[in-house]
């Protein structure tokens, strides 16, 4: 396992992105993305849980035995999720009213679990922190992207109610892209989640393929 932070960052953000490549955590990725703001909020909460539980799992990686590691991972994540749940209810209440129902679901999101099992339980604290953080940011990026696609096509706005999440200084983010009542309603309903996620997966594959071809083309002359 390398401790090359650039590789960790690139994997988390793009090449091994939780949603767009590994296709883990699709439940919150589809259920909570009827607007870009909701996607961003859900992503940030998940990123926080992933980073903190990766650090804790890595700190204790030598103290739990192989046999009880799964219950311990569940315990760590359950605790962090509950902490986030209570803190959001107390201090980010407006957002909590939107996301509250889904915060407890982070505990059954496979993505943090997979990263703890694969990375944090076998690596020192700093690489684990970096992995949890970048995987979390990549997850946030994917959710915000799905949310933005659905919100623009469904209700014609982008980042509506962002000031509830980030404070009134972020009011400028709230945009209207299309005129009122011109959106395709279906996109903010559940079927839209499948459509948007599917189209984004296709887009990512196409970009990857193109860059792979470009890399091949630039490598080819030297081979020849």
């Amino acid at each position: 396992m390398t401790t090359d932070y650039r590789t960790i960052a690139r994997e988390g953000l793009w090449s091994n992105n939780g949603v767009l490549s590994m296709m883990l955590g699709l439940c919150p990725a589809m259920a909570m993305t009827n607007s870009a703001t909701n996607g961003l909020g859900m992503g940030l909460a998940t990123a926080f849980v992933m980073t903190s539980s990766s650090v804790i799992a890595s700190l204790f990686r030598n103290s739990f035995s192989q046999e009880v590691r799964i219950p311990v991972f569940v315990l760590i994540m359950g605790t962090m999720v509950t902490v986030v749940d209570m803190c959001m209810n107390a201090w980010l209440h407006e957002l909590y009213k939107v996301l509250g129902l889904f915060i407890p679901l982070i505990v059954v999101n496979c993505l943090p679990f997979a990263r703890i099992e694969m990375v944090a339980s076998k690596n020192p604290v700093l690489p684990s922190l970096a992995d949890g953080f970048f995987m979390g940011v990549g997850f946030t990026f994917a959710l915000t992207l799905i949310g933005a696609v659905r919100e623009i096509s469904g209700s014609g706005t982008l980042f509506s109610d962002a000031s509830l999440l980030l404070g009134s200084t972020f009011k400028f983010m709230e945009m209207r892209i299309l005129p009122e009542d011109s959106g395709i309603l279906m996109m903010i309903l559940p079927p839209g989640a499948f459509l948007a996620t599917g189209l984004l997966l296709v887009a990512k594959r196409m970009i990857d393929e193109r860059s792979a071809k470009a890399a091949q083309a630039s490598a080819a002359p030297s081979v020849a």
């Binding site: 035995s65 046999e67 009880v68 311990v72 902490v83 209570m86 803190c87 209700s155």
Partner: protein, 219 residues
């Protein structure tokens, strides 16, 4: 040997449970007051929209009366008093909409006129049924000032059913449910009016101060 190993695993797991349990206890202790405060604020905010501040001098969120509805459910009524006299009542009423119950907070004055109505929660189709929210349209505001008798009871329906309330394009079930919730709320008020009107505010200090100020003015 193997039972000893099992014991060790158990102890490790137990130690982790204890540690993380402590962490949760601490977080709870830090947030419990703020969470209670937010819940109270939520309730006060929804009450404020249906009972104007100017007609009461008590704390609406704590002056409550628990009543029984026709269906046998408990309904909590928030009573507004001014100088000890009841000036309005707010309570929740609901009716099944297109998907799930639509909850409406209804404020009524002692004559049975609506002071205000607001949808608290619903799961209606976004873009069609959600115009009942005050954020998305002024439809719900038209109920203010109405009562049973104005319009008459048989006109408390959407236009499609021969009543006097507009439905909106593409959505009839949602407005029909809201009209029904409000109509039933008013009937509930009529049935329980006597008990609501004899309510005495428990915040005697506040209402006493209000009285003192009033008598001070007359001198």
């Amino acid at each position: 040997m193997s039972s000893q190993r099992t014991l060790i695993h158990g102890l490790i797991l137990g130690a982790f449970c204890l540690g993380f349990g402590m962490l949760l206890v601490m977080t709870n202790a830090f947030t419990v007051d703020d969470i209670a405060q937010r819940a109270l604020e939520d309730r006060q905010n929804s009450l404020k929209q249906v009972i104007p501040d100017s007609i009461h001098d008590n704390n609406l969120a704590t002056d409550t009366l628990t009543l029984k509805s026709d269906q046998g459910n408990e309904v909590v009524a928030y009573v507004a008093t001014r100088e000890g006299k009841v000036t309005g009542v707010a309570f929740e009423t609901s009716s099944p909409g297109y998907s799930g119950a639509i909850k409406v907070m209804l404020g009524v004055d002692p004559e049975g006129k609506i002071l205000g109505a607001r949808v608290l929660s619903h799961k209606e189709t976004p873009g069609l049924g959600d115009k009942i929210e005050v954020k998305k349209g002024d439809w719900i505001l038209r109920f203010t000032g109405l009562s049973i008798g104005n319009p008459p009871l048989d006109k408390w329906k959407v236009k499609k059913d021969g009543g006097q309330f507009d439905q909106f394009a593409g959505a009839t079930i949602t407005p029909r449910a809201v009209v029904k919730a409000i109509r039933e709320g008013l009937q509930f008020f009529d049935a329980n009016k006597a008990r609501m009107m004899e309510f005495k505010s428990s915040n005697t200090a506040v209402s006493g101060a209000g009285k003192a100020a009033a008598t001070g003015e007359t001198k």
